[in-house]
């Protein structure tokens, strides 16, 4: 009897299941209750529109330019912001890697994350507004009209760069520091100058990590909501898809339509992420250094 129990336990352990595995249960329950269930609920709800057949919500979305244009509007903000954040992160991370006071700089760069979107938006409104420091300084040095950087596309864009950059930077930094510095030295010894070392050594080794960074940064930017309202023009140029979902849910009380919009949002993200991760499989994915044999 006890021999049989022991052997069962041993067999489970062979498959990586032991008492520690039980600790996963709270996490699994959490994910089920707060992610899987609401997601499935929303998915089902989206096929039960207030009126019409199962696909009525989706048909309505794609027949109304006021609705389907939001996909394009959101992409127009999210894609440049994502690219900009990642493109800015790489050189900064490459430089920071060599710095002595790395931790201090990293802390400063991470502060925007801790502030939260609303705080950043408030700050930008004051700083970049028509009577803010920036415009007053520009008027002082002879600009005739204030530069409009709030309540339009640029306001949202800037706030997403500020809140998104630290995130992409930290991710990129961790990928950059994973590359053995001796590889660059080896490239230099073989006559490759900085640009060539970047193109032929660093970039190929960074590419898989950058694909992940792009995917995560894109998701963050695509789901923009508070700054699109606070800093943007939520009725026009920055009428992003999450605003439409919000309006459907809490202004028109049409939960099925809001769910359908949320599902479409998820669909766009899945397509983009799948494309990025698919591209990732085309490049080298091994470790960024060769160890001893």
């Amino acid at each position: 009897m006890s021999a049989a129990r022991l052997s069962l336990r041993r067999r489970l352990r062979e498959h990586g299941l032991d008492a520690v595995t039980l600790l996963v249960i709270p996490g699994v329950l959490f994910v089920l209750a707060l992610f899987i269930y609401p997601f499935l609920y929303g998915l089902v709800l989206s096929f039960h529109p207030k009126e019409g057949d199962a696909l009525a919500n989706y048909r309505r979305f794609f027949s109304d330019p006021f609705l389907y244009d939001t996909i394009y509007i959101t992409l127009q903000i999210a894609v440049p912001v994502t690219l900009l954040n990642v493109v800015l992160s790489v050189p900064v991370a490459l430089r920071v890697r060599l710095m002595k006071h790395q931790r201090l700089l990293t802390t400063i760069l991470v502060i925007p994350i801790t502030l939260g979107t609303v705080m950043v938006a408030e700050g930008l409104l004051t700083y970049l507004g028509p009577r803010g420091w920036l415009n007053r300084s520009l008027l002082e040095i002879g600009l005739s009209e204030p530069v409009r950087l709030t309540h339009n596309y640029w306001g949202v864009m800037l706030s997403l760069v500020i809140s998104g950059f630290p995130f992409t930077f930290l991710l990129t930094l961790s990928y950059v520091t994973g590359i053995d510095p001796a590889l660059e030295q080896a490239g230099a010894m073989l006559g490759a100058r900085a640009r060539e070392r970047f193109r032929r050594i660093l970039l190929p080794l960074l590419a898989p990590g950058l694909a992940i960074t792009l995917a995560l940064a894109f998701v963050q930017a695509f789901t923009v909501f508070p700054s699109a309202i606070l800093l943007g023009a939520p009725a026009g140029p920055t009428r992003v898809i999450s605003i439409v979902a919000y309006q459907a849910a809490f202004e028109q009380y049409d939960y099925p339509l809001a769910s359908a919009i949320a599902m479409l949002m998820a669909g766009v993200q899945v397509v983009i992420i799948a494309a990025l991760l698919g591209a990732r499989t085309l490049v080298f994915r091994g470790p960024a250094s060769t160890g001893k044999g």
Binding site: A188, M189, K292, G293
Partner: protein, 350 residues
């Protein structure tokens, strides 16, 4: 692109030093390396030998001094322009490139025609006997094979100088011996000037034409392997070259050298420099003989069986440890009598 050509006469280091903050890691190293020479930088870990190598490579700036390749001053140019080959301790192979592309990297950087790159990479692959692994990634190779790729990658561009930073230290003992022979073979075949950093005196002795011993960032001796092995210039070098028995002693003039007292016994030794009465005596364990009439009496503490002989530690009446080798079996607790030939008892000023 490389300013250095293979047909140089000599590389001169003129008093190069390197500081890290307040710490001087390398102090006033002066050395001339002739074309085709194999020079080993030997020293304990942290002695500055890798710093010296990185300064020569251009990966580190020198704080003082100059580096000349014939009439050309190198110390202000970057590593890209010096055109030296380098084999890194961890090999630093590009993990995303095949063996072929790793080896061809330097030639591709020089924008050589594709056919020439292919031919020269083939030659290099043949030289290191890796033809059948040409299309593998470094991660698929064993340590010894990675090492060969690293060597091939460094020499395929025919650099005037090849720098090797402890290239064998990551290999197991058997492979290390094999690769040592390999390094020797490639050097003999190509005749490329080489600077080889190591902390392993045996490696330095077996490979180098000349050895530079660095201790605490300072040059302590430079000479042929024989000179270093038999006539170390000072007690520090002697200790590093395996003179385990270093005994403080008093000396007085005697026939055929100086007379010193070691463990209460009188030995005749050879002064290595002008010595007064206070001296340090250095004797290699291999030069201690166990004989029935040896002047030193000591009790064996530890005896290790080394196959061909025994390596033993004995203690004399005053508690001084003596290290010796013996072909006969010695046992702990046994009293032995030890002697050493005057030529192998080296006497330094204290």
């Amino acid at each position: 692109m490389a300013i250095a050509s293979r047909d140089f006469r000599e590389l001169r280091l003129e008093g190069i030093s390197r500081d890290f903050g307040q710490v001087r890691a390398l102090r006033d190293v002066t050395l001339t390396i002739e074309r085709g020479e194999f020079v080993a930088l030997l020293g304990p870990s942290g002695c500055g030998k890798s710093t010296a190598l990185n300064c020569i490579a251009g990966l580190l700036q020198v704080t003082h001094g100059a580096i000349w390749l014939d009439g050309q001053r190198l110390d202000e140019t970057g590593p890209e322009e010096r055109g030296f080959g380098m084999v890194f301790q961890n090999y630093a192979l590009f993990p995303h490139m095949t063996v072929r592309r790793n080896i061809g990297f330097g030639l591709a950087t020089q924008r050589r025609p594709r056919a020439e790159i292919a031919r020269r990479v083939d030659e290099a692959l043949a030289l290191v006997q890796l033809e059948e692994h040409a299309h593998k990634l470094p991660g698929q190779l064993s340590g010894g094979q990675q090492q060969r790729v690293a060597i091939a990658r460094a020499i395929v561009v025919e650099p005037p100088l090849v720098l090797m930073d402890e290239p064998l230290s990551n290999l197991d003992a058997k492979l290390r011996l094999e690769m040592r022979a390999e390094v020797r073979r490639i050097h003999t075949m190509l005749g490329c000037s080489t600077i080889y950093v190591t902390h392993d005196q045996e490696e330095a002795l077996s490979l180098a034409d000349r050895i530079l011993v660095l201790i605490d960032g300072q040059m302590r001796q430079i000479g042929t392997p024989e000179e270093l092995y038999t006539r170390p210039a000072n007690p520090d070098v002697a200790e590093f070259m395996g003179y385990r028995n270093l005994v403080d002693s008093r000396a007085e003039p005697a026939d055929g050298g100086v007379a010193v007292s070691v463990c209460g016994a009188r030995l005749i030794g050879t002064p290595m420099q002008a010595v007064g009465t206070q001296v340090v005596v250095a004797i290699r364990p291999d030069d201690m003989r166990v004989t029935g009439d040896g002047p030193i009496a000591a009790t064996v503490e530890i005896a290790e069986y080394h196959g061909r002989d025994f390596y033993a530690v004995a203690r004399d009446a005053d508690g001084t440890n003596l290290y010796f080798r013996s072909e006969q079996r010695v046992r702990p607790g046994e009293t032995v009598r030890l002697a050493a030939a005057p030529a192998r008892v080296l006497v330094y000023a204290a």
